[in-house]
């Protein structure tokens, strides 16, 4: 048992394809609530049928300042998922897209949220 555990932990890694994610958000009318469409793909195939939860962290103190993760529901297009985010303040958030089911992965997206919606963050 121990040997098995060690061999699993120490075996060299085969690098698997990463999940790619893209996200568009628009304000849901109420303050700091956003409706977001997330598109997921692996390789060049859209990722279908995954369980997706979406949370958000503040860039400073990500362990303490975060938003309770919500489950995303499947959207209309291929690889599309819909989630409603309730943020505590405008500004920059690291949106954490956690994928489980057949595929397990996590993608972190940086967006700047304001009254118009969310824009990608590019820093100097």
């Amino acid at each position: 048992m121990k040997l098995l555990l060690i061999s699993v932990l120490l075996a060299p890694l085969t690098v698997l394809a990463q999940t790619r994610a893209d996200m568009q958000c628009k304000p849901a009318g109420k303050d700091l609530i956003y409706d977001c469409v997330i598109r997921l793909a692996r390789g060049d195939q859209p990722l279908e049928g995954a369980q997706v939860t979406v949370g958000a962290d503040m860039p400073s103190m990500p362990m303490a300042h975060n938003v309770k993760p919500v489950k995303a529901r499947p959207g209309s297009g291929p690889g599309e998922y819909l989630a409603r985010l309730d943020l505590e303040m405008p500004g920059e958030w690291a949106v954490k897209v956690r994928i489980s089911g057949k595929v397990r992965d996590q993608v972190v997206l940086h967006r700047h949220f304001d009254e118009r919606g969310a824009r990608p963050v590019r820093r100097k």
Partner: protein, 289 residues
């Protein structure tokens, strides 16, 4: 050569406000032997109150300044009551952590007043720079230096011409002797916090008006710059605070020009680390504080 002179003027202007930040820090540290982490956040809260007034009433700088001063002083007094007065006989670390807890409150209060990430602040000066020979000098820099000199003068008058000032200096120089001659720290403590916040508010006002913007980062930034300038000049010395602030301003202006902003900050911390490790003689590092 022109670059060097110009950078020096900019450095002195920034340094003048750092000196004020360091003076406020030094007053509290000198009298209480405790570091107040909420010093910068109290200034930030004042800046937010002023920005709020500017957005709602389109008030000019001459109205915004007293608003910022009053809010910062109030915040400073609150910190003294809740984080320092109860721990006078206790440990310095406890007081520091309590002041940190209040910092969290100030940050949230600021975002409740104004939830945005960045707000515009009315400029210190509108219009172009002055041309002096081959130099172009920013008017903001001159205003910053002028106001800082005036504030230092006022502080000097307060410390050297009043009974309160004499008591403060006595405690800073030698707390034991001051206590023996009947000066009580509790009696002057809250006034010291108010005074420190007021000086910090002057510095913060110059900074946000020169930068023409306010962000929540101003809190941590002011605490860090004040600490850095105070330590560079020698902990607990008023002239040292002024010298440390000016030195930091000049160092930053020149290193930013030649090395860029990241190395500028790196260099300032590196200098502090090396001076501390080498136990620079003016820093009194031998005293266990």
């Amino acid at each position: 050569m022109t670059d060097f002179l110009q950078n020096s003027v900019d450095g002195l202007a920034a340094g003048a406000s750092y000196s004020l930040l360091a003076l406020g820090f030094t007053l509290v540290f000198g009298v209480l032997r405790r570091a107040n982490l909420s010093y910068g956040p109290a200034i930030m809260l004042g800046a937010y109150a002023a920005t709020w007034a500017s957005l709602h009433f389109h008030a000019g700088l001459f109205v915004l300044f007293p608003v910022m001063l009053a809010a910062s002083v109030l915040a400073g007094a609150y910190v003294e009551r809740l984080a320092f007065a109860p721990h006078r006989a206790g440990s310095a670390i406890t007081a520091m952590v309590a002041s940190f807890a209040l910092w969290m409150q100030f940050e949230e209060l600021a975002t409740l007043v104004l939830p945005g990430h960045l707000y515009a602040f009315p400029p210190l000066h509108e219009g172009g720079p002055l041309a002096v020979g081959s130099l172009t000098i920013r008017v903001e820099a001159l205003v910053m230096i002028g106001v800082a000199v005036a504030a230092c003068g006022a502080l000097w008058g307060l410390l050297y011409r009043t009974r309160f000032g004499a008591a403060v200096r006595a405690v800073i120089d030698n707390p034991v002797a001051a206590g023996l001659s009947g000066i009580s720290v509790p009696a002057i403590s809250i006034r010291i916090f108010a005074l420190a916040s007021a000086i910090g508010a002057v510095a913060g006002f110059l900074i946000v008006a020169a930068q023409e913007q306010v962000t929540p980062m101003l809190g941590m930034w002011s605490t860090l710059k004040g600490l850095l300038a105070m330590m560079l000049g020698g902990l607990g010395s008023l002239p040292g605070a002024v010298a440390g602030g000016l030195a930091l301003g000049l160092l930053e202006a020149h290193s930013q020009w030649y090395l860029g902003p990241q190395l500028r900050d790196f260099l300032a911390y590196f200098l502090l680390f090396v001076l501390l490790a080498a136990r620079a003689p003016w820093m009194n590092t031998r005293s266990a504080s």
